[in-house]
Symmetry: C2
Subunit: 118 residues, 2 copies
């Protein structure tokens, strides 16, 4: 058996019947914070610019206000950054991921032991 | 705001690069245990018989052995039940769900408070 390159789990948080945040949106927020632009974040995550924009718009809609703000002017539209709210959302999601990882670690090991070696 | 009818989170566990188990497969295992057949489980979950069978085959493959066993004969193919391994997998997934729910509850409430009332 080879080690998995996927994370051990995928956790999507449902805010209501329509709004949700999972690792994809969280990774996008982090990449925007680190690259300073939506296009740069999309490139890092191998995501089309269109897809990255759609996710940003979904985040802004889901949280009822600015999560990412775009900066006017310059080449490539002037860049983008997380608002204070966006930073807090990202930090909160990462805390939740970590809490979940710790809470499930031993049972996840037990679950994997229920597999027959192949 | 109306209350969500979706569960608060969706947790998929990645066993390796290909195998995974999430709430859909867990609910299917539970429905097979409770209805005594794959077709009955599919009906309860509003899932096609074909889809239910595909998920059962994926589970049997992912865990490297029988998770669900079908019983020969009778109308509707004689029914199905979880093997001992299947029961342990289901119980383990439910424990993990519960551990996760407890671990993330307070941060999930905090995350929801980062939304602007709409």
């Amino acid at each position: 058996m080879t080690a998995s390159s996927r994370p051990a789990f995928h956790l999507r948080l449902n805010l209501d019947d329509e709004a949700a945040i999972g690792p994809g949106k969280a990774d996008l927020l982090q990449a925007i914070a680190e690259t300073g632009s939506i296009s740069g974040a999309g490139r890092r995550l191998r995501m089309s610019y269109r897809r990255a924009w759609q996710l940003v718009e979904a985040l802004n809609l889901d949280f009822g206000g600015d999560v990412v703000e775009t900066l006017a002017g310059g080449k490539g539209g002037g860049g983008a950054r997380l608002t204070d709210r966006g930073n807090r959302i990202l930090a909160c999601y990462r805390r939740i991921q970590l809490s979940c990882a710790k809470a499930i670690a031993s049972d996840l090991t037990a679950l994997k032991k229920l597999r027959t070696k192949r």
